[in-house]
Symmetry: D2
Subunit: 484 residues, 4 copies
């Protein structure tokens, strides 16, 4: 397992083509806008070496029998699924950001069982290929971007109906030694922190959409890959002097639009190639794992937000007011409800054919559905506790100005024993999570990551078994089945 | 393990003193108002004999090594805690009622570990006594009413401050061979379905309230016990001819006010006698188990309610409308969120000193807090799907009347292939759960059973560890600990 | 204007055909199950004679220039629309029930402007006929049941597609002096308190459904009319001795299924006869007025429920707990939000062609949509404040029993200075509104009266003018209109 | 009435001392960070000259009889109060920002009646002074910052208990011709768009806090005044090239911390000077008017947000999906509920002693309480409809880059007939309101402006008249008053 420093070094050896704020960026690792993202991922390396967190952050590989970073592990039982949630909560607590390594992890577990099922059904050899690939990933301790979401163009049209056929990633050429793919993946979380890209189809593809049913892995600096960095609220504060106004100066996350401009993929890196009938279940399974994930990571960020809200209440001198205490309780209650869903869908996991464990799909979707709601309410309550200064606070530069700074220190003092600067730091952390850089992860990603709310509702509907429930009702009402 | 018939017979041998609607009732088991309650409990006996449900409904006793009804079992691991939830959901599905046997079950598990801890701390012999008692309960397959809630009088005053000292159950006399107790327990669920009463204190008692710190078990027809049956919405419909208007004619639940009018308790049946410092933790632990319970039973009733709502939508011909489907999804989502909390607090259980497993207390309280909200919203949505007929439907007698019945059959027909009577049966089942007999269990018990909402909030507050969360926030904000 | 006694006498002179609990009822006015409903309506007569309420409860007729009961008045301005809301809130406060006279009132105002518009467009003479009829209603101070909701059968089929063509009320014969109608109206609130039935179509009818586009008024004891009384939770408690268990022994409401078994309507009583193109707008307008109404009446009932919750908190000794106070504030907040909607849609009313004022339709629908939610939450909070005794309380007969009563008085005492009986009375009132007789009005009617929730959403969608809002967004975003 | 250009010129003649991002700013009006705020205020001048909006945007002064900008008008009836709401909604629609002129307007109306009442009670001459001042404001068509919120320091301590007595603005010297004040006002909305500062006390002051009970007006560039500009999310995007990434490039709002560093106030500009017993009611009344205001302005911003959400749904090609339509309906419903509260509290306004009309205080507080909730839910739904691109979109500079721009145009195309740039513009507008510059106004100001949520709850509690509600309950329950 790599150390954080080794991880950074390994990234430095990559040479991806990246656009950020209208310029081509050369130094990804040390770019001040990108680095906080990389720090978040690096924390997954750091904690894996701390004895205190060893059980959560590492696992014994089912492939090699060696200890590996848990973020590359195939879940071998419900204990692994539960430890996943706990590791994610821990990481959320330590970074207050999206730490980005889950998307590849969830892709590993989904692709693992699906390739097994494809091989079973079709006699293909994808599972062996994939296990070989994953063994290498585990041994090298790599970060892999699980890339699913296509740009989709006009959403009322299917992939094959789009005016531009590239709106969904597709095979544009089949060669003897591999394929050439074209298209893009949007919202790619942690792409620039990754050594590899593991691409998957974005939806169930039909008979006529075989070219879109493609799954493969490539190095993140492959020829033809182009990254365009997404803007986030307050992103340029990271370019300013000082560290206060960013709110969380060390950690962050990012998303990019990845263009696949005729990228070649060698055969041994291909895990689906036209088997459209397996595309839907792959999406469903990946989404299932990722909906579970949010039952851990968002809870960890929630812990920090609750802590910040409690801290600012104390700094403001209102921590004993009953309505303040009650709002903190509500925040905890909502946060733990999400956690309960994450734990529950893990606890009720079942083995797939490949031996890799799958979460309970109904409960994982219920988990994510709550994630599309509760973080917003937790954030609203945090903003309530914060008070208006969260968005009217002067800049750090003002604080540093001899004249303005004097006024700020005098008038923005809260309780007497806490420095104005510390109070400002908590306000900025609150801003960071609720409406700044980390709001991308805590709000929008909670909403749309792993599928937008309606996607979960469709899955809940499918898993709900309403027929059985109707039968229960009829029996108790004294209605015989035949009369139905 | 008794058969349902043997259970009924065993109840028939008891002779409790019962008031119901202003009269002393002699025949408890066959009383038409009480019988549906007993049927619900009898279902715990019936299902225990069905191979399909054996794993959920029975367990191997940790005391005797024999197979016992799970509702008398001490949880030996998280699998037992999870199976508890699943057994409760099953029972809720089969009865759409409170099946009443959990309160004693939760009392067993709470008293077991607390008596162990008392003995450890104080050198008493309560645990051995209790295990001896419980072995007998398991072998005889008894129903035991866990009796906790005192009437409380003026709630702004402590037990010792009440104008009437009997507002909390207390020891009024200590004899060589036992004690005499006086007071009452309110809201006693399933009291008349029980062979035994296991009384516990209702709150943490202080130094000056030792007489109130008392825990013991007595036969349910002990001298001095008086039961006054609580009215429920539509209770007298059970006395009317026909079975339709009741909604769920077979199953129900009930509560009584139990008076302890100077009841003698022999020493071997006493499990706490003045050790006030253990009263609070006993309440907390019992409440914890019971808050977990609702993550199972209410979900099962919810399944029936969702099924009834889906069924009436179909009978009305609107099952394909998108807003109808969406409301059903929401009902399922809320119901499964409760279930997730029930599973999660079980999955994260830990062993106590006595070997009996305890749920995760934070998650159990979060579970119950959601139960004080979601069943109300599920019921509201069910009422939305039902339409107005749920409360404007003519009586079964009207349906049976030659002239009125003709009109009703004609005009209250829904979709053509379903009889008007069947449609009426589903309306009445919906009424039963949302605003009729079972609403006592599905609404009020969800609100106040195992402690009112504020009680959970206090527990959530205690378990939330806000200090640790504040520390996380300060670290990320760059505030050193000492400056706090 | 009649006195309450004169009103009762006038009802006694009617001879409707009524089925209740399987029997034909002769004495409607003095029937213990029906009388509380009639008392509620009688309150509209009583308060009209009290100087304190004269402004709210009476108005000067725009037809005759005489003072009339406001419940028969055509709204002549926004002050009338606002006074309507205030009169309804007052009545809700005084009865804690549906007082049933609004449905006819709302029908008057809707039919008034629609008949005017029909005459304008089609050259018919309906408006004059209607005004003549209404003048008589005002002078005689009558109660008129506005009858709209047809049974509807299979809701996926239109009226003309039903297997039984009578599932919607229709003209089955056209004679020289009138028409013969057949069908039924369901959920007819206050039907047995009414002198007249004013029937309207239930939805927009098409070209092929002209026979269903019919509006007319007939005496409530017309030949061929049959009433079947709807069951309500706890309805038979009104037949028991004593007054305590009913909760609100004086007031109530009721609904009936009204059968029109070939009923003759003379020409001068017909206000629409085949003009299907005006059926939709009549429904919409009536529904609009009735959705406004709930912004008054339900608020009044809410006042009582809040009062009862505050009272029981005091009787329990917990009125100073911060969470109790906070829940009362929330109840008030939700209740007043509904009221604000009622006032707002009234304040923004506009005149129709006939001079009668119409509410703002968007805001009236918003009002009703909130009514489908907030009373449920207010009730939930009331149940929270009440505690479990609301549904476990012994019967009044137990209280009267010499032995049981003694125990009840002792153990169900709350704070020392309030009698147990008074405390029980408040519990029963809370039960009455949340899950008993008045829950039909406060919950189900809030949900489905004046149209189910989805009906308001459709209207909100139609009134929202999203195109204008999109234009605002495009302008601010710097997008030129043509590019749209 | 000034034209927008004249307004800008008048501002240019002022010379306030301003710190922004650590530097002293000289050119306020043309500063790219500040200008959008000024544009929003300028819109109040612009629309006043458009015949279409004359009725809403102007009024006939009750002081001079001349036409004045409505934003300087004293409300002379409920029609004025309602027109206020409508003018505010209009301004919100046109700017999608806080337009900042209301705070002074609300201060005028509050100070007007309070000075009248002070004079009545105490024989002072404040009212005449104030009317004289306001006549001048109206004639000169000035913008006045109503300055209320003190920094407050340790909120568990009263003003006189703070370790620094300046944490609340106070009189530090009394001279013959005036007073000298010291302290600060925080969160001063629109301060730099204002010609004048009208300072008021922030809370009810006690006997020993007379120096804090002070109300006065001074020019905004008075000697000793220092402004420190508050940071907002994405504020520096206004300094970047291009206009796309800002989202709403023309309009905005701002807050500053205003320091009063020993500022002299001449006698004729003082409207309260030690009359502490009137400080609480002044706060209450100002807050009441300002809580009403949010029932207009936030609704207008909501209109834009709903429009943007509807527009992006169309650009994404999903506008026909039933869940999309349903979410738009919900947004409209919530937005109009706020509007209804704004209209209702205006419609129920009453005259004060000075003739100026006051809103209904209960309903105004209910209005604001809803504003602390619904905009958050509307924003959440907008983020749901937007999809993830709102926060992962590349920068405008990337769009302008020859290579990156090509990819962006190709892959971020939505429906075929809309340009990628237009789609990006709507995303950025959505970001602006939900988590960018205007989120300060739409979220935080909705939460804390005019008082934090708990402040409204306290006022609701005071206005609720629970005693009357309890009396209603007792009467209906059959409890005589004396037994209470």
């Amino acid at each position: 397992m790599l150390s954080p420093e080794e991880y950074l070094d390994s990234l430095r050896q990559l040479n991806p083509k990246v656009f950020l704020f209208g310029e081509e960026v050369r130094e990804v690792v040390d770019h001040p806008v990108i680095r906080p993202s990389i720090n978040s991922v690096a924390k997954t390396y750091e904690l894996a070496h701390e004895p205190e967190y060893e059980e959560l952050m590492t696992a014994v590989s089912s492939i090699s029998g060696k200890q590996v970073n848990r973020f590359t592990h195939l879940h071998q039982g419900t204990h692994d699924l539960i430890n996943k949630i706990k590791a994610q909560r821990l990481m959320g607590q330590k970074t207050a950001s999206c730490f980005q390594r889950c998307v590849g992890w969830d892709a590993f577990n989904a692709v693992d069982s699906i390739t097994w099922e494809m091989d079973e059904a079709l006699g293909t050899d994808y599972h062996h290929r994939f296990r070989h690939y994953l063994r290498w990933v585990q041994e090298e301790d790599l970060v892999v971007d699980g890339a699913m979401t296509d740009p989709k163009g006009d959403r009322s049209l299917r992939p094959s109906q789009q005016s531009d056929p590239d709106m969904y990633l597709r095979i544009v050429e089949r060669k003897e030694d591999g394929i050439v793919v074209k298209g893009a993946k949007a919202h790619q979380t942690g792409a620039l922190c990754s050594h590899e890209i593991l691409a998957m189809p974005t939806m169930a593809m039909g008979e006529q959409e075989k070219d879109y049913a493609v799954c493969f892995a490539i190095p993140s600096d492959s020829e033809g890959l182009v990254y365009i960095y997404g803007r986030q609220p307050n992103d340029t504060r990271k370019l300013e002097e000082g560290d206060l106004d960013v709110g969380n100066c060390k950690f962050g996350g990012h998303e990019t639009l990845i263009i696949f401009d005729n990228v070649f993929v060698p055969n041994e890196r291909i895990f689906m190639c036209g088997e459209h009938e397996f595309s839907g279940i792959l999406v469903e399974r990946f989404a299932g794992y990722h909906r579970q994930s949010y039952g851990g990571c968002k809870v960890g960020v929630g812990d920090v937000l609750i802590g910040a809200a409690a801290q600012i209440a104390e700094y403001n001198g209102v921590q004993k007011a009953s309505h303040i205490k009650d709002k903190l309780i509500e925040m905890v209650h909502l946060n733990e409800t999400i956690y309960a869903c994450g734990i529950a869908c893990s606890s009720q996991g079942i083995p797939t054919g490949s031996g890799t464990y799958l979460i309970d799909m109904l409960l994982a979707n219920v988990c994510k559905q709550n994630v599309t709601r509760f973080p917003y309410e937790i954030a609203r309550l945090a903003e309530d506790l914060a008070g208006g200064l969260m968005v009217t606070l002067p800049s750090e530069k003002d604080l540093s100005h001899p004249e303005a700074g004097k006024y700020i220190r005098k008038y923005l003092q809260g309780v007497a024993h806490v420095s104005t600067e510390d109070r400002m730091r908590i306000f900025r952390l609150l801003e960071n999570i609720t409406t700044g850089l980390a709001a991308v992860g805590y709000r929008t990603e909670s909403m749309h990551g792993a599928g937008s709310p309606q996607a979960q509702r469709i899955m809940i509907s499918r898993q709900a078994d309403l027929e059985a429930k109707k039968e229960l009702a009829r029996q108790l009402a004294g209605i015989s089945y035949d009369e139905r």
